[in-house]
Symmetry: C2
Subunit: 323 residues, 2 copies
DNA sequence: AGAATTTACGCGGTCCGTAACCATG
DNA sequence: CATGGTTACGGACCGCGTAAATTCT
């Protein structure tokens, strides 16, 4: 059992079972990869693939298990070489970040600016996705870190570092009648058409729960996956927006009036997650530190989130949310 | 980074940093191993060893980390080949069991008899140790399974399968005055010199706790690591014995009278633990099943322990005990 | 001085690439 | 017949073993 054989197997799967494509990606020639796969099956004495003639279509059950172990082995090996590059004072490398739109658009820019200044030789990859996709990406090691708010707590394979807490604000065009309402309650909000995130994004779960807890049903006329879309339709006059507070930009959003809603909804905690068994290079850890430092001032009141695993944020329970 | 290099590294550590011994164990020649180690350090660009001249004395911090990852990688590889042998209908192999004295002497014999009959080609290794040692052994993969009662719950790297529950009994020479005491209480027991297990063995923790919970201090005149020693001194008349109920053998212990004490002490649950990330061969899983089946009748009343993770045994809480 | 490790060197195996062959849609 | 995979074979590389040199006990 040799490493190149396992590499061929893993890459084959990642290439959708195209042997030639696998060979290309590994800088090998097709027969070599064919031979690797054959050797694995021979040495183990087990068929690993679903075949149709000579074509490989997928893995059978044994194949899936072998694949998982092969990934483990290669992962451990990757950790070793990462550790090596790290100790060689080599400050170059790649940092693959997964983030939701809100994070990528409104939170990450200053973080990345500072990080890039500190590590000019580190290439950054910013991958975007839904929270569910992001979790899958870290677990598969398609990204090194995932920064998001939803559903990072449940995966046993991940370590989640709480970074900062945030809450929502209301946005409306200047002069909108909701801006005169005093006091602003969930009930009052229900009197207006609302534009906010779709389920699974940016705390929409807890938002809906807050209404439901009071037996209220908000009139959400539009659910969007990102804040820019919400702002656009608020400007169109379609309704009032409820967005993450950090997504309001005083400089750019001068035509929109902002009202803090942190008394009405539970606080959310944005975390950075990475695989438990992954060796994080120094600059990857440093990115987390920079992220936490740069976002420390975001929570408008109350102190920043602790560094460790001390329960949920103050003010209100922070369940691990509905994915 | 090649596998043989990692194998050399890991074996080197297991051989106490003797290169020649490592070479022998790997069926190689010394220069080959030397080269492997050198290659690892070169490829990683990091010194891994504490050296004194040419002698290797130990690992430095980087070395420790690399070693851990190397073990991960080789472990994953071992899983693959185990899986292979398994699917090839190969019913031969080795089953390395770790057990405490009580388990090995009084519980395992019928289990092993049946298992050996089912799998004549499987070589059995029975390793004995204290619960703490056993846990260390499974974690280090020095044994495949550990069967013991204490301290298996805490290790995140282990899966623990609850197998059967048991409690204590009192043993005393026929005619001993304690046998006339009615009802038998913890207080009454405190009136006699007691011989039982030392701390860390066979439920001694919970036993002491039970006394302490009533503000009682038992007069333990002798603490022993195994039941045979306890029986011996009970026969000598040194005191009354409190032992695990399954360690009383009606056929052999005719000179000792037995009184059930399960109303006085919490129930203990004996579990089998194995590394979470380890592929268990069919016969290894089968051993667990046989163990559970053969021990199902041990609990004198109440039903057997469930197979899964449903809380502690009934009757009394079963904390994970004091190691 | 002797044991243990490193350096030097050559042989043998094997791994990959080229080329020809085979199957499938 | 074109695309994708397997079989066949030769050359280059390199990993291991033998032997000599070196260093620490």
């Amino acid at each position: 059992m040799e490493l190149r054989q396992l590499r061929s197997l893993v890459t084959l799967v990642d290439c959708g079972f195209s042997v030639s494509q696998t060979a290309e990606r590994l800088h090998l020639v097709q027969p070599a990869v064919s031979q690797h796969l054959k050797q694995i099956e021979e040495e183990l004495g087990v068929r690993l693939f679903q075949r149709h003639g000579k074509r490989l279509l997928g893995l059978n059950e044994a194949g899936e298990r072998v694949l998982a172990f092969a990934r483990d082995a290669l992962g451990a090996l990757g950790n070793i070489s990462a550790l090596g590059r790290d100790h060689s004072q080599d400050d170059s490398g790649v940092l693959r970040i997964g983030a939701t739109h809100t994070q990528a658009r409104y939170v990450l820019p200053p973080v990345i600016r500072q990080f890039a200044a500190e590590y000019p030789a580190v290439a950054l990859e910013l991958h975007q996705g839904t929270p569910a996709q992001l979790i899958d990406m870290v677990v598969r090691d398609a990204v090194d870190l995932a920064v998001c708010t939803e559903g990072l707590g449940e995966h046993l394979a991940l370590t989640a570092v709480p970074c900062y807490r945030w809450n929502r604000c209301l946005i409306a065009p200047a002069g909108h009648p909701v801006l005169e309402q005093e006091p602003l309650t969930l009930g009052v909000l229900c009197g207006y058409p609302i534009i906010t995130y779709v389920f699974g994004f940016t705390g929409r779960g807890n938002l809906s729960n807050a209404f439901a807890a009071q037996g209220l049903v908000p009139r959400v006329v539009l659910g969007a996956a990102d804040t820019d879309v919400i702002k656009t339709y608020v400007r169109e006059g379609l309704g009032i927006g409820i967005i993450a507070a950090m997504a309001y930009q005083p400089s750019a959003d001068t035509d929109l009036v902002r009202l803090d809603l942190s008394d009405l909804f539970p606080w959310e905690v944005t975390k950075i997650a990475y695989r438990r068994d992954k060796y994080l290079r120094t600059f990857q850890r440093r990115f987390i530190a920079v992220f936490r430092a740069k976002t420390a001032g975001l929570a408008p009141r109350g102190q920043a989130v602790g560094s460790g695993l001390e329960g949920p944020a103050p003010g209100q329970a922070v369940p691990d949310s509905d994915r």
